[in-house]
């Protein structure tokens, strides 16, 4: 009978297809934490004394991320705060907001909730009911990024940590390979720094989605497990299926995609160094490469439809 590859415990909770390794609950938890710490060190994601803002949706990724970063907070290596965004998605978002709020309170960290409605005057449901020439994820991504950047500034955060896992990251890479979008590719990576925005870090980037989900179960974390009702319509969902399908026969394919991309990224960065000079958006005054930032240009579009 199979037992834990680390400690011999006969009660295993995962057998990794990519390595054949079997792990019991405690060894799995420890292993995931160690891997995340390894990513943090290798990519120099966090400095001692950093105030980290966690983008906390209440889903499995951001809850696991906060759980792991909290160990640094407990040891007083970093300061922590969190922001939860209420996009206004009926029968979906409320539960996530509640879980996030409860968890932040339980940990005793600074937490704020910001809604699309308060920030932009429209919920995502209202946007999608009245306008449909862009995908929901386009609107949502731009507006969410805006809120997160503003929160980071307001709360004085040094870094923004997001829960992107290995699946998320390789999906983004593959989507942009297929769309031939070099500019977007240059913005993917473990740490995204820019002259005008708070740096973004992705500590879970090398952990597969399945394992992030299992981590939450193993640690008995309360997690919002529902899927966004808009997700099915996206190109990302198609690509997600493709990657999952290929991973069946090729269990290391996401790792090799990520490794290859990280090499390509260096080349892209040196070849096409970002020549975007940031000015200020004419409407909101936020940093923008054009006369209008993307959020304001979307809002203008929505008003004139």
């Amino acid at each position: 009978m199979e037992s834990c590859s680390k400690c011999g415990d006969p009660k295993i909770i995962i057998k990794r297809k990519q390595s054949g390794q079997a792990l019991c609950k405690n060894c799995f938890i420890e292993n995931v934490q160690k891997k995340v710490i390894k990513t943090i060190k290798k990519e120099e994601l966090i400095n001692k004394g950093d105030k980290i803002l966690v983008a906390l949706s209440g889903g499995k990724d951001s809850v696991a991320l906060l759980d792991i970063l909290y160990t640094f907070y407990e040891k007083k290596v970093i300061d922590l705060c969190a922001v939860t965004i209420d996009e206004g998605i009926d029968k979906y978002r409320d539960e996530g907001v509640k879980i996030a709020t409860d968890y932040a309170k339980e940990l005793g960290i600074e937490h704020e909730i910001v809604s699309f409605k308060d920030s932009f005057g429209l919920t995502l449901d209202e946007i999608m009911a009245n306008h449909n020439h862009r995908g929901s994820c386009s609107y949502c991504g731009v507006f969410r990024r805006r809120i997160i950047n503003k929160s980071a500034e307001k709360l004085g955060a040094d870094k923004i940590a997001t829960g992107h896992n290995l699946d998320d990251e390789t999906q983004a890479i593959l989507m942009n390979y297929l769309e031939g979008n070099i500019n977007n590719l240059s913005k993917i990576g473990p740490k995204i720094e820019s002259k005008v925005f708070t740096p973004k870090i992705k500590p879970l980037r090398e952990i597969p989605e399945y394992e992030v989900g299992l981590y939450g179960v193993a640690k008995d974390l309360n997690v919002h497990r529902a899927s966004c009702p808009y997700a099915n319509t996206s190109f990302r969902m198609e690509i997600s299926k493709v990657m999952k399908q290929l991973s069946e026969n090729h269990p290391t394919i996401m790792y090799s995609t990520l490794k290859g991309f990280d090499k390509i990224k260096i080349a892209i960065k040196n070849q096409y160094s970002n020549v975007n000079s940031f000015g200020k958006c004419e409407i909101c005054g936020e940093p923008s490469s054009g006369s209008l930032c993307q959020a304001c240009s979307f809002l203008k579009e929505l008003q004139f439809e």
Copy 2:
């Protein structure tokens, strides 16, 4: 009723999903030829006076390629010759060899047939019956490349033209993105030059597979339409299915993948400039980056199994 977007002929043979363009037989033929000539000019694939060796399997791609290059030969812009490789695949290869031979004779161009058996002492069937720790395509690719390079030298060719179409090219790109193989990516492109081998060119690189096949039908070319019996087992076949599936909803996805890759390729080339210093293979004396060339290292492996 739909009619040809160019001449109004009501008998159309293709309606392109990516552009909505409908074309009659003659306009389609002319359009494909023009596109290939555009690729040749843009990528500077051919110089006046070049002797071009076509790798002629007898399949739809290489036959269409030879058909188009023959127009340059007729105008005495280039000289042409062809090589057909007999890999030794029972109930498959003989028909292709016959079609290739007949076509070369019909056009009156220099043609040679070279077999794996004569070159390496083994047919592909024999390799695959006795050894299976590599995919058939790995052996076949390495041995075929060796034969083509040698033929080019022997026949004094300035360039080797292969029938790779848009699907082939984007499959190779995607495979290597997913495998994270930067070295292989650096060898993909419209014109592959090296210090030691005859340059390889891919004039059909921007024509989708379906259109290359249709070109053969439209021009009434005799073409070997069977598929290689070994193809189903390959990673390439999986990726081919993925790309076809994605193309259903995103008809321009192969073009955007190719365009994006061509930009990435420039960056890769500049970042990871090929530092391979070519020496000579200890066994056969052919150019090799290691002490043994890949063909000899495979042959050695096969002898010791």
